[in-house]
Symmetry: C2
């Protein structure tokens, strides 16, 4: 099965928004084993959209369009697609009820303009929208199936997950099984080297690696006659990959982030955490706190940017700062020790470094970072030299700190 993606919107062509919808849909298609050879972006223009849609229809079995389903005259995706497919638009009663309800709940007056959003091509499957007014549409034609989705990601993503994915699964004569193995504490090239024989020999399942800051994800996808068979194909490959990477694997659940996995470790072992950040300035704490339930675990974070605050709140010795400087192994050690002591936490993280662009010297270049980890009385400090711009350095340091905490937690737990 071949699919193609067309995103409709002048704001994408003007560069005002980044096309995250195309990435989301593409990722979903890849997970389903549906091939996608082209993505296009076109403005809210009848002639150009018609041209692009016709072309895609000639190449693919399914054309997925996002955007242009709003209530204004400019929004013409539905009208254009119906015209090309030779379908009449009719009002869907349930969609119109939902649109009215949406406005009434919010005490907003609706107009007849909004009624346009309840029009759907005759015979189409309507994807009702819980998060907005425009319903999505699946219109099956002789040549091609068009799937129309609203542009806002907050509407498109749940509609895709809950309604389009089951439809595509049902339609496909092949079943797919896709699993993700997420690694931390290992670089992409090293991970690829470890997998080289498997990647070279891959056919079904396929193996693909994706690098993020401080993380490598491996996707294993198999196709078969039914889901169970596909799953049976994936299973031994996932097992082998997990064996090769051992404790670098922090999850095989696609929805679990590194920070969520580490927070889970703390929760499971009934441990509390506090943090002392310098160059990252709250980025590590903020990333951990983005996980729901973080409040159960995290006690206090200190952003001790000045030497004075390092001394006052973390008890870093003046002599340490004088002798070794704030960006030093010794300082990171005293920071993490002091942080744990002041907050009476079971675990603590400290970071000190030079984020740049200024402040670097030959001995202490931009990117130099010391990360300290405290877990139940044991302290570990590691030196890094991160590269890139200020933000990249801070992101790399953040990922490294969370990874180090995870390693220390695993070690502490296994020694208990």
């Amino acid at each position: 099965m071949k699919a193609e993606i067309i995103c409709v919107g002048t704001e994408i062509l003007m560069g005002n928004i980044v096309n995250t919808n195309a990435a989301y849909i593409s990722k979903g298609l890849a997970g389903l084993g549906v091939s996608c050879f082209y993505q296009s972006v076109v403005g809210d223009n009848d002639g150009r959209l018609m041209e692009v849609f016709r072309e895609a229809s000639g190449r693919a079995d399914i054309v997925i369009l996002s955007g242009g389903l709003g209530p204004t005259e400019d929004d013409l995706t539905k009208e254009t697609v119906a015209k090309v497919m030779g379908k009449t638009l009719i009002e869907d009663e349930k969609a119109w009820e939902q649109i009215k309800e949406f406005f009434e709940k919010r005490d907003i007056k609706y107009t007849d303009n909004n009624r346009k959003q309840a029009l759907v091509p005759e015979g189409a499957r309507v994807l009702y929208n819980k998060n907005g007014t425009a319903p999505g549409i699946i219109a099956e034609g002789e040549q091609v199936t068009a799937i129309l989705l609203p542009g806002p990601p907050g509407e498109l993503i749940p509609m895709w997950d809950d309604q389009v994915v089951p439809y595509l699964k049902e339609k496909s004569d092949t079943a797919f099984c896709s699993e993700m193995i997420k690694l931390c504490g290992i670089g992409e090239s090293l991970a690829e080297t470890e997998l080289k024989d498997m990647i070279d020999a891959q056919a079904n399942p396929t193996i693909a690696t994706y690098a993020k800051v401080g993380e490598v994800d491996i996707r294993v996808t198999a196709s078969a006659g039914n889901e169970k068979e596909a799953h049976e194909l994936v299973k031994p490959v996932v097992r082998e990959i997990k064996k090769r990477f051992g404790s670098h694997v922090f999850t095989t659940d696609e929805d679990i982030t590194l920070e969520a996995a580490v927070l889970q470790l703390l929760v499971e072992n009934g441990l509390t955490l506090s943090l002392a950040e310098s160059l990252t300035g709250g980025m590590v704490t903020s990333r951990l706190i983005n996980v729901p339930g973080a409040s159960e675990v995290i006690k206090t974070g200190f952003i001790t940017y000045s030497n004075r605050s390092k001394r006052k709140y973390l008890g870093v010795k003046r002599s340490t700062l004088d002798k070794y400087g704030a960006v030093s192994k010794q300082c990171a050690k005293e920071m993490v020790k002091g942080c744990a002591a002041a907050t009476k936490s079971d675990a603590a993280i400290s970071l000190t470094g030079i984020a740049g662009p200024g402040g670097g010297t030959k001995e202490k270049p931009v990117g130099l970072t010391y990360i300290g980890i405290y877990v139940l009385g044991r302290i570990r400090v590691k030196k890094f030299v991160f590269s890139g711009e200020r933000e990249k350095i801070r992101e790399s340091a953040t990922a490294a700190a969370i990874t180090m905490l995870r390693q220390s937690l695993l070690k502490a737990v296994s020694c208990q």
Copy 2:
């Protein structure tokens, strides 16, 4: 002048990376007044790339391609474009020297594979790459000009800014002038209402608004025979917009972020800042610290997630927490007062709220946030109810806190 963008890369089609290059180039073209009606993405496949490039060449004067300039067999953008344009590839000596130097500096061995990257179409303008190995290319043909850029944004962006933009300016017979006015503390719909008469009447210059979390940007673009004339057209419109929005305008410099503008205000007035965050968990401090030079101004950040740490580090009274709870006006006030006092800072920010998804009640729903601002002895606390998911609520609170600090700083400074 019409341009079209083709991004080459299987990793975009698989959804592994979001196509930020297309957004960056599109934004740049819009700023230059170059029309862009189509963006496409295609994999590293000779036949499909040829098809897409041929089609774009028939519609546009300039086709900008990114990606596929690497040293491997898979990278074939240059080869395919040269074939379609009927040009021979020849080695560019300077490019080869630079590639060798790039590797030698990093103590990495280069192979003959890398030599492929020094090949350019005969007669092309070579865009030397300071940040990687693949040079960019501008190849002028009879029908179309192809501009080839490397895929990694860290290489593409500086090459675009420093070499492609001047080329496009020189080539264009029309000059463009584009200015940005950035607003905070006002919603997009209100901003558009204030501008409605100007937007309705717009022709040259054009006026466009773009909403971000807690920010509205307005772009004014004019075209004319030369840059001076275009600038003269933009000037009165910018002046009028600035007049209408008054102190909501935090900058007219495209490169200045809200956090940079606020940090600048602190620096100019010789004021120091400390922060006490709860629901944002370091996000406000982290955003401010991302501005180079933040260390001059920011003293300490506290992430006081627990009631105990609110009392210990900020001196919030137990009776306040018992009577009003941690998410209350009273608590935000004591937090910001205590933060300023403990750190002896001139200014302070406090945030307390419910980020969700759990923890909300009827009286205190998810999204409820109190933000406290202290500037030179004066305290202001404001209540908000933000909507969306956990991350969105935290981002909205962060933008609101920085905006409130700015307002209080402006007031304090004007009263001096």
